[in-house]
Symmetry: D2
Subunit: 324 residues, 4 copies
């Protein structure tokens, strides 16, 4: 854990140095301006699915072995207009009964039905963020330029509809136990050491194809302190992200909306997500509710995710299922 004090010192130093926030050697190595050597992707120059390439039959079969009890758990949070949402985003769902004004029914069987209309951003609530969601200076995964592949009616490349089913091992890392707090403080950066300590404590070693989900207690704030929930977030920093990526995970995320420390002490805007999605082709999962798993100490499980195939979308509401 990097302490709040350190964070403050780093930021202060930035101001001393003329407004330029110093970045670690690690970060500099990944710096955008320094180089553009992050593409083509190691999965091939025309690849559009990134780390989903790791989802082999072997990964599936290994994950199957985690099912012992025949129990299942939805990892999504329920979504409605009251859920706190990022900036401009909102969600409205309307229930309508077409043709049933004044109690009208249809046919001799008096057919009636409810129909629903959604006016919403796909980024409200539990969501899968595809690798086309975040870019660096308008360049996205595998060097795809926004100028070329983005249209107002959806992306022509990297769309969420191309992501194969995610059937693999899911791993939950309980950061609340690690820090000994029901809700991990908002300015806590998870380091490599933090993650390794939790893995050791939980008896797990990460492996290729894993989905790694953090439990921070942060969902407890929803409806109680939406302001704090949206303004600041605990989460991994760039070092931890790099290490996770090197373990060849397929997706990272958890119970916050940022899935990384926010605001980032370096002054960068979501650098971890940017690194993971754009440079490494790793997916992100937001607002994942792992509380029941943590309660029962289910640290690993069969993770199954099928996302609605909205053509040209780069994110979409989902409900991954844990089976154990």
């Amino acid at each position: 854990m990097k302490t709040k004090q350190l964070t403050k010192a780093v930021v202060a130093a930035g101001f001393v140095l003329g407004g330029i926030v110093p970045v670690s050697a690690q970060n500099q190595k990944e710096s955008v301006s320094a180089k553009a050597d992050w593409y083509p992707s190691s999965y091939g120059a025309s690849d559009e699915i990134g780390a989903a390439n790791l989802l082999t039959s072997d990964v599936v079969l290994q994950a199957m072995k985690l099912v012992k009890l025949g129990k299942t758990l939805p990892l999504a949070v329920p979504i409605d207009k009251n859920l706190p949402a990022f900036r401009h985003r909102s969600f409205n769902l309307y229930n309508i009964q077409p043709g049933e004004q004044a109690g009208n029914t249809t046919g001799p069987n008096k057919f009636t039905f409810n129909d629903e209309l959604v006016n919403g951003w796909t980024g409200v609530g539990t969501q899968l963020n595809g690798i086309g969601h975040i870019g660096i200076n308008n360049v996205y995964y595998n060097g795809n330029k926004a100028a070329d592949f983005v249209t107002v009616e959806g992306v022509k490349k990297l769309g969420i509809e191309k992501v194969p089913p995610m059937v693999t091992r899911g791993v939950v890392l309980d950061m609340t136990a690690h820090y000994g707090k029901a809700i991990v403080p908002g300015d806590t950066e998870f380091t490599i050491a933090d993650i390794q300590a939790v893995l050791k404590k939980q008896g797990i070693t990460l492996r290729k194809g894993d989905v790694v989900l953090f439990n921070t207690g942060w969902l407890e704030l929803i409806g109680k302190d939406n302001k704090q929930f949206l303004e600041v977030e605990p989460g991994i920093g760039m070092d931890a992200a790099k290490w996770l990526a090197d373990q060849q995970i397929v997706a990272f995320g958890g119970d916050t909306w940022a899935s990384e420390i926010y605001p980032n002490p370096t002054g960068e805007e979501f650098p971890v997500n940017q690194f993971m999605l754009a440079k490494r082709g790793i997916y992100n999962l937001e607002l994942i509710d792992s509380r029941p798993l943590v309660r029962d100490k289910i640290w690993q499980f069969l993770f199954v995710l099928g996302q609605p195939l909205y053509i040209g979308s780069t994110q979409v509401n989902v409900n991954p299922i844990a089976i154990y």
Copy 2:
């Protein structure tokens, strides 16, 4: 298979009898006007999830055994504004890059992102229809009255957010092979005998908790003959529905948007869906693409469905995953 000739005869007879379409004894037993003895539900008077009660740990563990190859398949069809949609329904998705006008980026790391807004009905494309979707004279599953539980911002009971994960055996019935046609004709009613013949041919016996999906070849029409796709549909009739319900299945559906013969020869409006959802608490799945399974003769598989938890919705876009 009930033949076209029979169908026509039945309808003709209806007109002869003064506009009253004759219904079978079976249907009369289920008739709305005759009685209201279809609730409380056998799952309890306050039950809101119907046949999802059948999804026990045992069902999960049994289904796990179907995974041999470690292969996975998305069962959804991709969705965009061009997909043919039922009546008033439509779907539009917009890709927007907030704050990035004129190529703006954020932070020293030049963060850019794509965000999506959906204006769409949840009933366009592959969807899970909850048991609150269809009612009889404004009364829904377990006797819930629309007057009481429906609001413009969603249902207060029977919402899709209450449906537990569907992890069970999925069964595909290939009706195209049964009828020897790449696309089963639109006026074909699947009878009990038809279904039993296909099950026998495929070497399957239905069991409690199954999800039963029909392959009719109908998806081939999309983009080629959207008009036909929307106007008429092959599918099960009421007798077959009753028989399927008696096998204690959890959900039925397939590659059409109606999941039953449409228009129904009795002149009723979606009587099968009405029976299954409202009276029996059985879920419906529309626009399920089982073509790759049929091609490889994968007649049964582990079926995993996690639906986005839109509070108060009675249907929602999904992408169930077949694992085998």
Copy 3:
């Protein structure tokens, strides 16, 4: 002015009388259950525009004479997502620059543009409510039954697109001066006597075809006390409504969202609007900002209203223009 004390007494009496709130003889005469003699309309059994029939050339020419200074004033309030809205209603507008990701432009002339998408209810902000907006037990103006003319994609009769331009005399009644308060208290019912006193004070006599707008100071609450703004409203009661209708006005309204006292002391739901629209075919205008007119004591003026012709809508955002 009916006092708060009286109101409370009436309501209290209602409870004493077994829960039945006593209504005035006036109201009883208009009672729904007592009779259905309010149609056909006096404008003809097939009429769809109600009091807009009163907008003759003579009315137009008379109103023209009110223009002395060549000054103009928009009577609408600006609309965005922050404006307090009735119950389920909301309004979101998005600015999008299609095809301009990464600063793209089109053509040698480097064309760029802003485009806007609205997801909103037509009843947020200044609006014209057509006579198809409100009904009595699912029956609307001129006896049109909801079961017959309403569809999910708009009404087939009484739509706002059929309303002719409203070019007539506008009259502002300043209730703030009448009551000697910058903001008229929320439980104030404007009686016939109140209106007549204001008219006399302002030197005006109502005439056929007038649009009558009340200034209550209520807009001052927006952004300061949205809760009060939405929960309670000063306004005319049924007696005043009847009297105004008898003056053959075309539209009534003002700077509140209800245009009548709300909640109504009788326990009825918007009885004044119901009476005016459904029974008398008189239009309603909400959130009309007449403050600059009141400031300059412009009590009458040329009123010009052209509403966007949304087919099948019963209300729509507008911006009537005062010219004087």
Copy 4:
């Protein structure tokens, strides 16, 4: 009229010259790349309303004199989802009866109502295009840079909510009579000479503050040949635009969706609108139905436009009223 033959020759010449389409001296003078001397605006460096500054009391009073008969005419076309729309744009309106499922009513007065929800682009149907709608290389009227004033929830400058009422003289130019065709051919460019000839024929001289509307017969295509309606348009070219701007008009437009010849023979993207809005602060009005005026030879009239005040929008649906 520039002939089709000339147009083809110009385009052909462009290809001969290595893909560079030759532009007239006039156009070169206005060329973007050549200079950026088109701001600050002549109305002041902080001006946000452009030619609306010309709408003086004198202009209003002069226009009042055109009212002789007391007749009124809506200049808008009715809008629904079937209206042909520019590219990505669409419009859907839903009629909903909140709380009235199963025929529910509210209160002892059995209150019922229709409510409408719009999911639509403000650029479908008759619309006012504000001067913030179109820019040059992401720079808009008065040098406002998109990077500075555009947000996803609306523009912070140049918004339609700032445009004062347009009360002035409206002038209709009947191009169908000029060309002797019920529908002016799509590739017809209106020149200065064409406009002057029509003005002379109709006995009108343009004056400061006018709104100039062209009648081309093009609305006749709607519902009959939507493809042609959207693909090509007759209209003014750059020379005519410059001349109109020099007459100090406030707005130009008419019965097409482009209000200029489209595609432009120079290969530029809407250069006329770009010039008028961005450089001259002149407003644009699309899909104006002047057919009844032309039928009755009403060439000039009192034009009154009040647009809904959608904050931060650069275009909005309107219905200007002609009074004569």
